[in-house]
Symmetry: D3
Subunit: 134 residues, 6 copies
């Protein structure tokens, strides 16, 4: 599979792209820029916007960083996105996800996908007590 655009190497990156790459390196405390950002860099505005959004969303908050990565991973697997399933699995592992935790996450992803369709296909009406959340 060839990417829609070639990945942008550091040597050919524009100053605008370099600034984002530098922020990724600094934020993640790494020298490695993964393919997602290098391919996205063909559209600097999208690179900047998506990185900025991701950085904000994944920053420490009410949920701890490992939980955030596992939520990201569960969604990516549900959507069948091979790239994100690979990258966020490794990211979650880097934040402490053990094999046992990954197996439990997978069991939940599988179970939820099963009951989602059972609820839909049986047309189960939402219980009154589930109507209001906050």
């Amino acid at each position: 599979m060839t990417s829609a655009f070639p990945p942008i190497a550091d040597s050919t990156a524009s100053p605008e792209v370099c600034a984002v790459f530098d922020d990724i390196k600094k934020t993640r405390d790494t020298d490695y820029i993964n393919n997602f950002w290098r391919v996205l860099a063909n559209d600097p505005a999208t690179l900047k916007r998506v990185w900025g959004g991701l950085k904000e969303v994944m920053a420490p908050g009410a949920l701890d960083p490992l939980v955030k990565e596992m939520l990201y991973l569960a969604v990516s697997i549900t959507n069948g996105c091979a790239y994100c399933s690979h990258s966020h699995a490794v990211a979650a592992k880097g934040r402490g996800m053990t094999a046992e935790m990954f197996s439990e996450l997978m069991a939940i992803v599988g179970m939820a996908n099963q009951t989602n369709k059972l609820a839909d296909g049986y047309r189960v009406p939402v219980d009154e007590r589930f109507e209001n959340l906050f």
Copy 2:
């Protein structure tokens, strides 16, 4: 919307169905059986199998119960399952999910759905370092 089968009331439940309902009540420490199980009870074998599986998957393990409920919720929202999104949001709240935590979860669900499609559409090749997980 009418469910495919009418919900089974306690008064008309077979002993097999009652046994599952009792286990749900005991496991969840509640007197309330939600519509999902009452509709599923029209097929006692499926009721028993799905409840047994769910109970096992959601039991305490390497992940804490709140994280499990939030993973379930994130998958259900991604699949657009209204019933499960309602029921698991309430379940997660019951286990301690605050409005702030829900908002962070939603931000991640939205972001992951965005980058999943960007990775797919740009056909980003999986980085070699993401190939192996465990």
Copy 3:
């Protein structure tokens, strides 16, 4: 929910639309035209094309009509399409689907949605013996 276009009544249907409605009635041996076709009739070319295709696909062949309706239903549930899940469930019932058969269909839909995600998330490689089909 209001449909994107109002349903077309017999009294206001153009000759082109009437011809399709007549063919639906004749093919299905009924006087009832369901909402799907009446809304689609706002675009006569699409009405004609989609009805023609559906008629061909659902005609008796190597698979019997009940099996065809159940396949249609399983796909519609998987896609979360409420309209098609309702209409094809009734159509399948009209061709002989019992409550027991529907329950088995639902169990398979649920199970397949579960294992589809397990296979994806665990990135299970396709066995060599599954590579060739026909």
Copy 4:
């Protein structure tokens, strides 16, 4: 693509895993354990639960085994799961699915995916007569 966990060989399988593998071999009257179960075997609890559920769901019942495999296949294709589409196509063929039957199944899968989106996009209201099923 590397699987998330390495497949478990017979020689390194725990007694718990061996028991499931033996049941798969006996139930399917084969000596071959496919990759799905060997990768799942890294989490023996999930292996046992999912195999137990699948065995129950796919057992002879009101629907014949070939119909069950074709329903499984139609769902797997709709979800874009390459592994399950491959394995259940071969399983269906083993139960008698001919090339002609597969082609009819594919025609239905395609048609249903088309009309599912037409019904959604045109927001077709569910006909009153489709409201009740059983």
Copy 5:
């Protein structure tokens, strides 16, 4: 259906939320803030980030605004998102989408969903000449 959070009225909006609402009104030359933004306003950071991103993405560029709205609509229908299908259909109409154009869009959405599954299910290999894009 009750929203997860109540919509935020102008009278109770914080200055941060008001600033976004004002920018929406100015950018869209309207006094109306639709429910999506009012519900999102319960999480001001997400409101600001998502609105900022949407404003950038939908701004005039190489594609004209009507084409952008129709792309948005086609994706929303494919995902079965009722809210976005409604809001972006009206937005597209406001930019000049006629009934005829909407019907053509729907025909394409339906056809693409059909052939997407045919290509997947028949496992059609990508032609060499389709490998490289830019």
Copy 6:
């Protein structure tokens, strides 16, 4: 990956298949028949029906051909269909889609997938003014 059926070469095509291949070549002003049609040709009825439908849907109309290809592409990416994402990206490029236009299309696909889930997960009620379309 091996296709479910081998692609049909010109030399082994039946007269019925040849007639469709000839129409594809004439309509598209090319000598090249891509793999999708060659694999589909194993089921001549489906080949004829799907090609006939696609030809009608993609013919010049109220929307210009480039817009039609981009809508097709946006849907295919959203569905994660690798084959159609490749083939329709090349087709769109052949009709004038520049790298800049593709990047804008991708930004919209990503954004729509994000807000689709935000609207679903926050259960945003459809505004009254969005209820009626045509």
